[in-house]
């Protein structure tokens, strides 16, 4: 005789240790099987577009920092790329190289948080401590550069707020051989750990077609086996001068596009970022980093869209200018927002415990989703 079951609705969040911020997931359950997931957002809506209307172009940069607070450098990078495109100014080569170095350091720092908290979500607390130990090294590099640990306001329109500290190049070079073995350590500790693999392999499979249909980008897309990286496919800044690989998910522990693949793409990307930093430090030209900063930013009437590959995917800025000193509108295409929209597809048919594994693997930041 078939057992009669009823569907139940369970709220996960907004206060939940594993929702990576203030996110509420409305789970539609049949027993312990997920029938549907409805994310409720807006718990961190900080009125970014309203602020952008009221501020001048350079004043928007600190607010841009606070969108995706794990990769502030890259948010600034994307925003200034868009404004410079609108203004039509060329920035010195040294500025471009420093931006790339900072962006890639930020990518490593951001992936370390993603990996560390992912381990902590799945019950392995030690990788979290290891990841934050290494992240502090990167933060100290940022600190000697611009004085801040988390939110920098370092990359300005047309240049940078400061030149590099005299010790920066030496310390960054020391960081690379320090960090390389730590990636292997993380692999031994977490990536190939039997319990971790059991929790993540064959869970939350994202087929490439679904990923493309939803517009997913970044490590989540590459985890599904698609080689798509804006640094290679639509090069901006000086990324065409570096030699690096684009790691993709191969389904080594299960199926292509499962949580483990998305996780492991991040591990491999840290290695590639180190390569880019190494080359950029070798090629770093001399020059003045503040020479191209315009006295007054007043772009002509028009609109622009610029996109960069931030640690979470394609970060796009759509700016409309009405010819005044304030932007008419700054619309952000947030990669986390799109990654979150695919949650429903990923979770269906899995258990409740797998929701945590899936949510951690897509690595969202709520500041960017709610804006």
């Amino acid at each position: 005789m078939p057992v009669k079951t009823e569907e139940m609705i369970l709220n996960m969040g907004p206060q939940h240790p594993s929702t990576h911020g203030v996110l509420r997931l409305e789970l539609l359950l049949e027993g312990e099987i997920i029938k549907g997931v409805k994310p409720h957002i807006g718990y961190l809506h900080r009125c970014f577009e309203k602020h952008a209307e009221a501020m001048t172009y350079p004043q928007v940069i600190p607010y841009v920092d606070r969108l995706d607070y794990l990769s502030s450098m890259y948010n600034e990078f994307g925003y200034v790329t868009a404004v410079e495109k609108l203004l039509g100014i060329e920035v010195p080569q040294r500025v471009e190289y420093i931006r790339v170095i900072m962006g890639e350091l930020q990518r490593i720092a951001s992936h370390l948080v993603a990996i560390g908290t992912y381990g902590a979500d799945l019950g392995a607390f030690t990788p979290f401590l290891f990841a934050f130990r290494d992240r502090e090294k990167i933060l100290s590099l940022f600190e000697i550069t611009c004085g801040a640990r988390l939110l920098y306001n370092y990359i300005w329109i047309g240049g940078l707020s400061h030149d590099l500290h005299p010790d920066f190049v030496r310390l960054a070079r020391e960081f690379i051989p320090y960090f390389r073995p730590k990636i292997k350590e993380m692999n031994d500790l977490l990536s190939y750990n039997k319990i971790f693999v059991e929790r993540t392999a064959n869970v939350g499979i994202l087929p490439p077609e679904t990923a493309i249909n939803f517009g997913v980008s970044g490590p989540n897309l590459r985890g599904s086996g698609l080689k798509w990286d804006l640094r290679r496919n639509d090069p901006y800044s000086v990324y065409d001068k570096f030699d690096f690989n684009i790691p993709v998910g191969e389904g080594r522990m299960g199926t292509v596009g499962d949580c483990w693949d998305r996780y492991f793409v991040r591990i491999l990307e840290m290695e590639e970022s180190l390569k880019i930093i190494e080359q950029a430090l070798d090629q770093l030209p001399e020059g003045d980093v503040t020479s191209a900063i315009p006295k007054r930013v007043k772009p002509p009437i028009g609109q622009v869209y610029a996109r960069v590959e931030n640690p979470r995917g394609e970060l796009g800025y759509f700016i409309i200018s009405d010819g005044s000193v304030n932007p008419f509108r700054v619309k952000v295409r947030a990669p986390s927002f799109i990654s979150l929209s695919v949650m429903d597809e990923l979770c269906r048919g899995h258990m409740i415990a797998d929701v945590i594994a899936i949510l951690g693997s897509i690595d969202i930041v709520l500041g960017e989703i709610d804006r």
Binding site: Q15, R46, H51, A54, R66, Y69, F132, R133
Partner: protein
């Protein structure tokens, strides 16, 4: 009691006030509610991770409000979140303490003027014991805030309520 540990060969007694013992016990094991809101939550995580090590002060993150003594409001409180924070605070058992971390939860921070959805200070919904300024505050600043809270608890009285 670290200084007195294993200093005497025979059994001994220490004469002190009940208040002092209770306050000492309370301030030495402040269990924190593991709850992050925004950017400051990352600095809070950094504070509890290996480099700064919150554990030294007896602070252990607990996932439930019912097991925690102190709640650190780490980030921007929006109007939608404010009622949830109030409810979380009400679920905590007494004695309970609040640390407001960062400009946003102190006063609205960079969002004070145009933030139509931002609460201008978490003290409008729950009482705050210690304010930590900064955007975001450095981990050292949060540690200092915790030490200030411990100082406050050390001077508490069972009989009369101190402000």
């Amino acid at each position: 009691m670290g200084l007195l540990d294993k200093q005497f060969t025979d059994d001994n007694i220490i004469i002190t006030k009940v208040e002092d013992v209770l306050n000492w016990a309370r301030l030495s094991s402040l269990w924190q509610m593991g709850f992050g809101l925004a950017c400051c939550a990352i600095e809070m995580m950094a504070t509890s991770a290996s480099h700064y090590d919150f554990d030294r002060f007896g602070v252990i993150p607990r996932p439930s409000p019912r097991q925690s003594d102190v709640i650190i409001i780490s980030g921007t409180v929006t109007l939608k979140m404010a009622i949830r924070i109030k409810r979380l605070y009400e679920q905590m058992p007494d004695p309970k303490y609040v640390i407001s971390m960062g400009s946003c939860s102190n006063c609205g921070g960079p969002y004070w003027e145009h933030g139509y959805h931002v609460l201008k200070g978490v003290d409008r919904v729950i009482p705050v014991d210690v304010y930590v300024p900064g955007c975001p505050p450095r981990p050292e600043a949060l540690l200092e805030g915790l030490l200030k809270l411990q100082e406050k608890i050390r001077n508490e009285s069972l009989v009369k309520k101190t402000a």
